[in-house]
């Protein structure tokens, strides 16, 4: 079972080509999507890639959220379509209120690029079901505004509902509760700061743990099809 996975290019998206390549290497049909279009047409899932959409001016992800295509993505996500927001994509998802909380400047105020160790904390999502509970994975991290914040109540809900999907083992940026990635109630929308699309090809990646995200999607899509 394969599927069509769309990757959105906003002005200033950078990892869109990488995401398309990862999608293809994991057996899906890659579909480039342009932020200015009105609909995403017939894709089975959407990735909002990393980068600096609109230069990250104002707040990371804040301006991309108003792209015409986002209106359609928000609608489809609310109806259950799988959406993965990576880094800047995670920021866009928070700004769009598809995910709670916000991403702010790293506590040390520097951009940081390193290989990050994460714990998989929930396997009940479209994008993490191929991992095992508590599995340690290694995924590339690179951002300047990856510091996850939310009010106390939101944090409580996220923890109680086990919606923290990935947690840092060595918090790189000051994120509350060491949060690296979260999901919505339904488990179809996942956002995380690390970059699984960079961990697919062993020639250029320190690990291939990113493949687990795509294997999870495959599982999900074949279950839906069955």
């Amino acid at each position: 079972m394969s599927g069509r996975v769309g990757v959105v290019t906003f002005p200033g998206s950078l990892d869109d080509r990488d995401a398309l390549r990862a999608v293809e290497q994991c057996g899906f049909a890659p579909v480039p999507l342009w932020h200015g279009s009105d609909t995403i047409d017939d894709v089975d899932a959407v990735i909002l890639p990393g980068g600096f959409s609109y230069g990250d001016y104002l707040r990371a992800g804040a301006l991309a959220r108003f792209s015409p295509l986002m209106a359609d993505i928000i609608k489809r996500a609310e109806a259950g379509m799988p959406v993965l927001g990576i880094c800047n994509g995670f920021q866009v998802l928070c700004e769009s209120h598809l995910l709670p909380g916000a991403l702010t400047r790293n506590a040390h105020r520097r951009f940081r690029c390193r290989d990050e160790r994460l714990l998989v904390e929930s396997v009940d999502t479209v994008w993490s079901n191929a991992f095992t509970d508590g599995q340690e994975i290694n995924i590339v991290l690179k951002n300047g505004e990856g510091n996850y914040v939310a009010d106390a109540e939101t944090l409580m809900v996220l923890e109680a509902e086990r919606r923290v999907v990935f947690r840092y083992l060595e918090n790189p940026n000051g994120s509350m509760n060491d949060i690296a990635g979260i999901t919505n109630e339904r488990g179809n929308v996942v956002g995380l700061m690390p970059h699984p699309e960079h961990n697919v090809d062993p020639l250029v990646a320190p690990s291939t743990d990113g493949r687990g995200f795509f294997a999870s999607l495959t599982n999900f899509l074949s279950r839906v099809a069955a």
Binding site: P11, G12, L14, D15, R17, D18, R21, A22, G36, G50, G51, F52, Y54, G55, D56, Y57, R110, F111, R112, C113, R114, V140, K142, G144, H195, E197, H198, D201, L203, V204, A205
Partner: protein, 745 residues
């Protein structure tokens, strides 16, 4: 009211501020001769900025010509473009070509470290783009004053954040670079940025305006008052004692705009709507119009008042001099203009037709219908003054050379203590604090990057790739600039070769003191001779580069810093060799000849209180070539390879152990200080599987490379150097601490 050409003809005696604009009296007189009248204000602005040192290479031109004598072929084939273009282009096979170049942005980076460094990256990337290439990577070669100096704590974080922000935001992986500290760089940091791009042969674009009636389009950011006079004021004048208090206007970069400009320009190339193209960098429109026109077969007519401005009060001369970033100029056939505009609109990039190619041979610029510039473009762009600056070998050099570090006490400290000093030396210590601020993964083709000694990028899915290293040891160049330049070349060449790639071409950035000082000029001339002779011997042409003069604070010039970038080609990136220590049980072999060579070394610097004297280590380019031949043929046999550079054997061994998190044991052979800390060139430390040791030994013999087995990779985390015992933790603590400690204090 604008100063028109008619007005200029009628008012020959008007006083003009040529001196304030940096022109010499005879230069001003030459402009009057060329024009047969006094220049208008706009013309004066153009000539002054284009005839500045930075744009005209007036002090360096006669010497740079020597690069032109080198054969225009690389071991992989003909150069497709060489010196004189925005960046050199070379064939790497499979129909692919690469372009790369280094450029300096030193003075602006002292005034405003973040924006200065950022716009340095922006500028070199536009040069690469202007050749028709997709930019695929950047590198940065940085020099600062002593690590513990308060001003370094201002300059270094700003520069690194600037290089990082701009490159990260463009989506270009940073695949390597260097950072060095020396007292002579305080008050005069160096920021040299390297850009690399790839293109198909048929996509090559050149900067020329041809075809009468073709339109001249300015696109990208609007033009503002930032960086006005930046070229002549920032790049050609020494800072006086009060340094940044003088604060001239600087350029502010918008990397987001540049990212749009890149994607837009690549789409314009693909659509075939670009006849000629030029980036706008130093000297802005003055440079772009005069260079495009003089490289073409006709003249050019510009209506300057059409330039989109972000400050409507700018005068025509200010517009001509503005260095606003993120702008390009294209020559487009009239029938293709609409298509051009559509693509720009898709990317939200503003584009305006501001003129056209004419059949005359003049560059004419109008301002609201009146002519303010009417000049032969060549006289602006290429026929600037050329100086034969006097140069002389300084007297002090004999004394410096006589003060050899080989004569210094070798037991001033216990040996173990000396090891820790060297590993914790600012010029050896871990650079993670810097490199962590750079994205090295974006684009998904980075095969090697920091902490490897060279960067490597995959060019196509068949595995064709390029490797790059940029190097220079200014302390060595101070001892002898000719040999220093060759050391820089040899080191970059060796670092590329260690990855398994074949080194094929060179770009350089020559950072020196004032050309008006005969000693600095001598250093410059010697460095060029060293490079030319070295490149001839290695068979690697110089494809382009940059010169930065006036790097001095008061009377103190920087140590000469001829930074060299070497590019290599590898047919299959999957066969690349990493410098990371291989698995337990592997043997470590030292290749090349080790001599008693300590002058200019890190050891002399940190064990003997900043000692800098003696003669540089021997340069043996034949030996470097033999290493390359060996690695090209037999890199499949080695499991790791690390070039020996500053810090010698001890650093090569310890760093690769720390990075791999594995222990290591190295024998001591010969006199301990020279053995551990000597900086003889043409050496590699390689890891070899014992199962292929015999085969490996035979390969070394065949290529006449001296090779000795010196150690093994250990199980566990001890590091044994001769009789000395260390834990990996102790060494790694010493090595990792200095930069974070200084920056976060």
């Amino acid at each position: 009211m604008a100063d028109t050409t008619a007005n200029a003809a009628n008012t020959p005696d008007v006083e003009q501020p040529w001196a304030d604009l940096g022109l010499k009296e005879d230069e001003y007189q030459r402009i009057r001769e060329i024009l047969g009248r006094r220049p208008t204000a706009a013309e004066l602005a153009m000539y002054s900025v284009m005839w500045s040192e930075h744009c005209s290479y007036k002090s360096s031109k006669v010497h740079l010509r020597k690069f032109g004598d080198l054969p225009k072929t690389t071991p992989r084939g003909e150069l497709l473009a060489g010196i004189g273009e925005n960046a050199g282009v070379l064939d790497i096979g499979n129909g692919w070509a690469v372009t790369f170049k280094i450029e300096s942005h030193n003075h602006p980076s002292y005034v405003e470290p973040h924006q200065g460094a950022a716009t340095g990256v922006g500028g070199i990337v536009r040069d690469i783009l202007a050749m028709g290439a997709r930019p695929v990577g950047v590198m940065d070669s940085l020099r600062f004053g002593p690590l513990d100096l308060p001003d370094t704590q201002r300059v270094l974080p700003g520069v690194v954040a600037g290089v990082g922000t701009y490159g990260n935001c463009l989506g270009l992986p940073n695949i390597g670079g260097e950072a060095f500290f020396d007292p002579t760089y305080s008050g005069n940091p160096l920021v040299n940025a390297l850009g690399v791009g790839v293109l198909k042969h048929e996509d090559l674009h050149l900067a020329h305006a041809s075809g009468t009636g073709n339109k001249v389009v300015l696109y990208g950011a609007t033009t503002g008052g930032d960086g006005i006079g930046g070229v002549s004021v920032l790049a050609s004048e020494t800072f006086d004692a009060d340094g940044p208090a003088k604060r001239p206007s600087v350029q502010v970069g918008d990397p987001f705009m540049e990212k749009l400009l890149i994607e837009c320009t690549l789409e314009l190339f693909a659509a075939g709507v670009v006849t000629g193209i030029q980036d706008l960098g130093g000297a802005g429109l003055s440079c772009a119009t005069s260079e495009l026109a003089s490289a073409g077969d006709g003249g050019m007519h510009i209506e300057l008042d059409r330039t989109p401005l972000r400050d409507s009060s700018l005068s025509p001369e200010e517009i001509l001099m503005s260095e606003s970033q993120e702008r390009m100029m294209a020559v487009v056939e009239p029938g293709r203009v609409d298509e051009f505009m559509e693509i720009c609109a898709k990317w939200d990039v503003e584009a305006t037709v501001i003129g056209e190619v004419t059949d005359g041979d003049r560059l004419v610029i109008d301002w609201h219908g009146e002519t303010v510039v009417d000049v032969p473009p060549r006289t602006v762009a290429h026929d600037g003054p050329v100086y034969e600056r006097p140069y002389a070998r300084p007297e002090w050099i004999d004394k410096v050379n006589a003060d050899a570090a080989e004569d210094l006490a070798r037991d001033a400290l216990p040996l173990r203590e000396q090891v820790l000093r060297v590993m914790g030396a600012p010029n050896v210590a871990d650079r993670t604090w810097i490199t962590e601020q750079y994205d090295r993964y974006v684009l998904g083709d980075t095969v090697l990057a920091r902490p490897e000694s060279a960067g490597m990028i995959r060019v196509d899915e068949d595995g064709l790739g390029v490797a790059l290293s940029v190097d220079c040891n200014g302390r060595i160049a101070y001892l002898n600039p000719y040999l220093g330049a060759q050391h820089a070349l040899a080191q970059a060449y060796r670092c590329v070769a260690a990855t398994g790639a074949e080194p094929v071409a060179v770009s350089d950035c020559l950072n020196f003191g004032s050309p008006e000082d005969p000693s600095a000029m001598w250093q410059f001339v010697e460095a060029i001779l060293g490079l030319v002779d070295g490149c001839r011997e290695l068979g690697t042409p110089v494809t382009g580069g940059n010169v930065s003069f006036y790097n001095q604070t008061g009377e103190t010039a920087i140590v000469p810093t001829p930074t060299v970038g070497v590019l290599g080609v590898i047919d299959d990136v999957a066969t690349r060799v990493s410098s990371k220590l291989p698995d337990v049980g592997h043997e470590l072999w030292l290749l090349g000849e080790s001599r008693d060579e300590l002058s200019g070394s890190v050891w002399a610097d940190v064990v003997h209180d900043g000692h800098l004297g003696g003669m540089p280590p021997k340069v043996d380019l034949e030996a470097e070539k033999r290493l390359v031949a060996l690695m090209s043929e037999a890199h499949g046999l080695v499991a790791s390879a690390r070039p020996l550079v500053e810090g010698g054997l001890v650093r090569a061994a310890v760093e690769s152990a720390i990075i791999a998190g594995r222990g290591v044991e190295i024998e001591q052979q010969g006199e301990p200080v020279a053995w551990w800390f000597g900086e003889s060139s043409a050496r590699l430390l390689v890891g070899v599987d014992p199962a292929v040791a015999a085969e490996w030994n035979a390969a070394c013999e065949k290529h006449e490379v001296p090779a000795v087995r010196v150690g093994t990779v250990l199980d566990g985390t001890q590091v044994r150097l001769g009789d000395m015992e260390f834990s990996l933790e102790e060494l790694s603590g010493t090595w990792r601490a200095p930069i974070p400690a200084a920056m976060e204090s």
